[in-house]
Symmetry: C2
Subunit: 216 residues, 2 copies
Amino acid sequence: MTTILTVDAVLLTLKDNRLHVALFQREAAPYPNVWALPGGYVHEQEDSNAQAAALRVLRDKAGVDAPYLEEFGTFSGRTRDPRGWALTVVYYALVPERSLSDKVTLFPVDDLPELAFDHAAIIDAVAARVRSKAGYSSLPVFLCAEPFTIPELHATYEAVIGEPQNMANFRRKLDDLQILEELPGQLRATGRNRKAQLYKLVAAFKRQLSIRERGF
Amino acid sequence: MTTILTVDAVLLTLKDNRLHVALFQREAAPYPNVWALPGGYVHEQEDSNAQAAALRVLRDKAGVDAPYLEEFGTFSGRTRDPRGWALTVVYYALVPERSLSDKVTLFPVDDLPELAFDHAAIIDAVAARVRSKAGYSSLPVFLCAEPFTIPELHATYEAVIGEPQNMANFRRKLDDLQILEELPGQLRATGRNRKAQLYKLVAAFKRQLSIRERGF
DNA sequence: TCAATAGTGTCTATAAGACACTATGCC
DNA sequence: GGCATAGTGTCTTATAGACACTATTGA
């Protein structure tokens, strides 16, 4: 009996102002017809490393291509998989809702269905990390589809962190980060009110997280 | 051919005011007689999970028992081990120099010998993380053998971070953390000068890191 | 009393948070 | 003009850093 080595991806997005995770329904045993994270074995031929395996899984099972992807950590032991001692490397990604295919189904991270393996514990741990990290990094920008307005980004941060953020301070901190580029003359109206300026991410920060010194 | 799954431990300590890593000389192939991190295969029978495997390796190969141990991340791919596609889960631990056995040899992390596998890259990455983390956490306290004085701890922080820290501010921040417990009446003299108060770690923080909000 | 290190009080600079304000667009 | 949202100026408060000071010990 050999050790089982897999990767799993926690694909997070914002829907109805709540953090959701993308799951799919397993077909094969173990856990047939049970919801699970997109994941699978490392393919030695195709995957140059574990992160490449996670990207492949996201592409094949969730239809998401090359998002911002970060290693979370490993989960291992002899009880988490009925087939034997198993280790999974967990990655997480944040994407805008509209970039998801219909291969996956979204569930609120605080209201999960029954899940295969230890995936419930994995999602809980990742959600906690992401919420904490939102407080001192630019992580949540990856939840907004470009181009976006500051008020949209502001609402995204409030949804992830879970408490109101002062708009004036929010703008000042965003300025300090220097990750946004104004799109001259491009505005977006949300009602019959003043239009908001549109922005995109500065190229250098497209796939790189920006850590704030003192928190959002 | 099956995937290779191992754990490696980066055991760090302070010696001559410089960060050192504990290495041992390999005997078997691959890389016979080359310096390497303490590490090895997961033992499905003995190890309840990967962290337990790392603790076992530290106990057996380095003679260090149950230190503060944290997962760093994984290194994987088909080129890092001549035997095939391999993944290692890297853990790191910080210990006082005098708690190390003579099974291992200490090398400055900035002046390493030739190393097996990708262990040089692993040590570089861990050292960078530890130095960065020293700036906003209580991590370096694990480098001091208890009981210790504030000036000793102060010197440890300066050595890890690499720049002078103001003593008055250092004390204030330590107070805020509330991780030290004064040992009443116990003092230590280092020369013929004023004696320094001895402290031990508060029990609750023995194996738990304390993160500062705003950095040391 | 001197030298050396231990330990403290307090001023200053900076950054975060609170809040009131102005600007724009559509009715 | 009125209302709703976009966006700004500035005061207050918390915290980090600088620095000068006092305290204790052995010689």
